[in-house]
Symmetry: C2
Subunit: 336 residues, 2 copies
């Protein structure tokens, strides 16, 4: 009998990841916090509402156009806190380093984390360093966890999408994954495509100033926009329709996708969020988002059409309509 083994797709953020989490983790670590399946848990400690989240960063290569693993490890976790509607406060940081790794590179990564933590206004308050034998890890892995304070009156969750909500995104998709891929595979594109790595906490703070009634916030990282929307559709039990024409994509990223045969809807992003907003407040929200440096190219890309089992439909440029599924298997080599 063949033994079941972990595949790359179990970590790609797509369907296999979702099933692994549901079957193995949710069934064993039973508690109401984890069950929400959000980017972070919302804790209530003595009346204080805190967001709590963790992420390990294994990106290869460590440095790429527009970012590096250190910056990613800070902003990625900051963003997960922001997606809970929380003000990021504190980070933990744990390194797993391969014996023989360059101290100079480690310092460069640490300096980049420092800079990112200043930009995102978060303190790295506790840490850990493990060194493993040569060959037992690929250069360096970084885990960060984060704690933030959930703003009063905020109740954001992947399960809160409501019929009538408009779906918004803060800018063009796919540049992170293409930037990392082209660095790793040595692909040359005429124009340089940079990762969109960015901290989204100031953007979320601005959005909450407009109105606290944001239903869903989620950053479409691994698995891309399609997978994120599918997760939301499934947990909120609604159908979502998005319009291909409205989805912002940088021309160079679109060209790269055509050459490489990738669907940009499944490409990872590191500075993007999707927001589900009651339609009445969407115009004010869009205006405010565009004023923030990380939201200049914000757009409304779709809406929640009805209660259902949870499907995502794409109205295509050529006038068709098709179901968009979660990422199944591996579209690409693992990059983040």
């Amino acid at each position: 009998m063949k033994e079941d083994r972990i595949l790359l797709s179990h970590g790609s953020g797509g369907k296999l990841s979702f099933n692994l989490i549901k079957k193995l983790f949710l069934s064993n670590f039973t508690n109401p916090y984890l069950k929400r399946l959000d980017d972070g848990a919302i804790l209530n400690i003595e009346g204080l509402k805190l967001a709590y989240t963790t992420d390990s960063y294994t990106v290869d290569p460590l440095f790429f156009k527009g970012g590096n693993i250190g910056e990613l490890a800070v902003y990625g976790t900051v963003n997960d806190l922001a997606m809970c509607g929380a003000t990021p406060l504190y980070l933990s940081c744990s390194f797993i380093i391969e014996e023989g790794f360059s101290l100079r590179l480690l310092e460069k990564i640490v300096l980049s984390m420092r800079e990112a933590s200043v930009v995102a206004r978060i303190d790295i308050v506790t840490g850990d360093t493990k060194v493993v034998n040569r060959g037992a890890a690929d250069k360096i892995f970084i885990n960060t966890s984060g704690v933030g304070m959930v703003n009063e009156g905020v109740n954001i969750s992947g399960s809160n999408a409501k019929v009538g909500d408009l779906v918004m995104i803060n800018g063009p998709i796919g540049s992170h994954e293409i930037a990392v891929l082209s660095e790793r595979e040595g692909l040359k594109f005429e124009t340089d495509i940079k990762s969109d790595t960015a901290p989204l906490s100031s953007l979320v703070a601005d959005m909450l100033k407009v109105n606290k009634d944001i239903h869903v916030l989620r950053d479409p990282t691994r698995g891309g926009l399609s997978t994120t929307l599918n997760e939301i559709a499934l947990t909120s039990k609604v159908d979502i329709e998005i319009n291909e024409d409205d989805i912002p994509i940088q021309e160079e990223v679109r060209a790269a996708c055509e050459i490489l045969g990738y669907d940009p809807l499944y490409l990872a992003n590191e500075g993007k969020l999707v927001a589900f907003i009651p339609w009445e407040i969407a115009p004010d929200m869009l205006k405010k988002m565009k004023e923030n440096e990380y939201g200049k190219k914000s757009k409304i890309i779709g809406r929640v059409v009805k209660k259902s089992e949870g499907k995502v439909y794409l109205n295509t440029t050529i006038g068709g309509k098709r179901i968009v599924d979660m990422l199944t298997g591996e579209q690409l080599p693992r990059i983040c």
Copy 2:
């Protein structure tokens, strides 16, 4: 010019680790929380005192006598919270898994984490799973971070050791490292030596019931008892004297050390704590510790003798006195 590189000793918990943390991390991530150099940070959020800590677990082999990586990942972080005088509340859990890892083993590890979290009364509330290419990681690494509530009136820190304090330990040292080593190297000892892996939060809770005026709590994991005492001596700026005759060691561990040429003072433990207690309350404390299942073999092993730069002295069995330093380099192959 030869480039400086990361050595195994940078992660062994000894002198090189201490220097790396001080030079690279403390100088860059400047904040009062990190500066304390304790097992966790003590946060003050809106008047609520929380302990916050992180640790990555890379133990090889994954399963050994008396424990496994999953149990370790729960108890290790629970213990770091307990060492802050906190009641452990919530854990995050992040897996880095090598492609091809057995799903059955993953399930076994997850079940063990579940069991450990029930024993330690802590909820695993948020998580992350990354899968890396075959060969890019050694089977599985687990990071856990933890949040706990610091009990009122408690002020425990590695920098709080005072002249006159008695040094206590909750049982015999060294069994964890010998258990892991013998599993990995296939060594056979006449008697089975089991890892001491255990959650120490109930023991700490019991101790705090006797008196909240505990000055220092620290679990002597990587680097062993000697390194831990040296860290405390350095940050508290005191000299510590311990008595070789009083340090509890299981006979089998002592024998294994003699065969292998190891000094038990540098062996890692996973269910031990050292406590620095004002001498007046030490007898009551010892009595209470012995009543707890993880403190039955508690002993007073030394005392803080004077203010100084921070040295640790060992009064040897044969009547001598020698300085005991931090672990320098690698006594042993890395095991945790």
